[in-house]
Amino acid sequence: MFHKEKSIQIKNSASALYNNLSVLRIAPRRLTYFTVVHANVVNMVSASWDGLNYSHRQLQSKEPNVATSTSLIMQAAFCVLPSRELLVVTSQKGIQMYESDGSIMVYWHALDTPETPTAQAVFARGIAAVSENYVCVGVSSGAILVFDVPSKGSNITLSEVLEEHKESITDIAAECSGSQVLLAVANLVTVDDGGSLCVWKSGEEFQLLNKIAGLDISCSSVKLWKGTVVAGYGSGQIRIYEAVTGILQSEINAHARWIYSLDIAPFSGLLLSAAEDSFVRVWHLSVTPETNSVEVAHLHNECVTDTQICGAKFCDGDGYAFAVTGYDLSEIIRYTQT
């Protein structure tokens, strides 16, 4: 179903972090950007579609003042809003927002870091663009920071802080089906280290629509598509819930180790899951909102030998191609449909 393509070499190896790959397709320029985090550096590669041109850039985590320790980056992700695209980088010290090519930093938000380290780690993790103008970022305390992003310029402001989660945020996802009907209802899901899921509706004041309690198994990656939450857990399970009601629709014993990344191709319903067990699996998801039912079919496995996978993303909305990163690997492995 899929075959391996030529890999893209990156300057550093990928670190063992959840969702450690972000992809941005720039159709007008026939380019795709990839970002992979290595300790305190974000490796960016710009790949031309004809496979002939690759250019690299590295972004460092911001050190607010030299006397403090190096800040490790937890996640880097592209945020696509109707008017602009940003690259958001979250670290132990705060949140940096760049123009999508990584050329200019447009915003910096510092986290409250204590003078001396405490037992509770401090960092930001979990990034998603939602609705017309919001970027949401999670924090280790469980808070979600909602930033209001203007259509251009650097006048980004902190609009709201959502305090519902009690554990560190692991991932955030916005409704990606493009359906205006669904976007009017629930358009954001946030998950944490205890496995709790919160479903929200964005707005000047975000509304909590539903909270699904966790079973103390960390939820490391989540997606929201056609009103359906798809969540990956440390136990290797994928669970599918109806967002608004919280009803469990499906449970898949998907992987033998901790899941690190999930992705959905919104036009085709293809689902990608990747874990520490070296496997990337492709599934097909279909959702019938009228009957509140889902169907899941397993389509394909790829084993990246001797590699704990930390990032897997589709490169396009149909799921024609996907890319994978692994701990200690200095390449982005690509697969396309045969």
């Binding site: 670190s15 063992a16 780690a121 440390g234 629709q249 998907a254 033998a256 079919a297 001797d306 200690d328």
Partner: protein, 363 residues
Amino acid sequence: MSSRTLPLLFINLGGEMLYILDQRLRAQNIPADKAKKVMNDIITTMFNKKFLEELFKPQELYSKKALRTVFDRLAHASIMRLNQASMDKLYDLMTMAFKYQVLLCPRPKDILLVSFNHMDAIKDFVKDTPSILRCSDFQLIRQTLLIFFQDMHIRVSIFLKDKVQNSNGRFGLPTSGPVPHGTQVPGLIRIFSCTGEEKTRLQFNNGGNYTSAIREGSFEIFGDRVTKLGTNMYSVSRPVETHMSGTSKSSAQHTKVNTAPNPLAKEELNMLARLMGGLEVQKAGSSDTAFRVNLFATDEEEEEALITRPDELSYGIINIQATKDQQVSAELTKIMGEFTDSGHQSPSSSSKGDDLLAMMDDL
């Protein structure tokens, strides 16, 4: 990243160090009483109350350089002496072994079981055990450790022989065997109706050869840990070699963190000085009791290893003179005083760290 990683890193690396030293002491036929004294001295130093108190404070991980310096001191906390090449090799073996154990832990909290395996072997206990951390805390610790060990691909002969490590230095991750406790064997899709009843059951091929989870290891002070990770893999009859050649390619992709001027340096040095103030060092004078341990089969091999070690794999140890010795501390204070008075060093702040750094550059 996790600020609770350092004690685990230290205890596990210390455990591996003791396994290796024990093997070398026996291989070199060091008299039993001397060997026992060496092991006792090192263990006592490792579990020194003041040292542990410092260690267990929530803090960021030390840099590779700083940690290597701590272990250098620890290895010399007895009458045993190690040459540079042997110390390098010892450290290579310790770090690769623990990297392997962290990577292969089926569940993040199994890192605790690995630590218990090490501690069982050391047969000593930490009095103030940390509060039990949650599963997700362990994953953060594990991720922090994996960042620390990133890009290390030194090949260890015992790993290569056991097929645990490939010839390119990467560890084998089997897609067979029991799944971790708390995980189901992959292969089942269940679909539920809105009332919660199971509607459909589908099977899929998981591409591996997994079996159900076996019993969980014990997290009590005493107990069957079940996992073999963290148990002693050395014996006198199995000499352990490390291989540098072929690893330089991957090392070249190492971030240039070590060579750039490190703003963290003075903070680390302060921490190190505090930590080492609690580490007593045997005077390297008494030649009748002191002896040297060689990590290699012959002295010639050891010399050869030092010369041929690739630059990018050198650990760059810092020599700190911070001892409890009264006379030396008085000297130190006097020298530091001279520095601030004459404004000898760089125009930056006159903090203690800067003085220490400047002093070392002049040494």
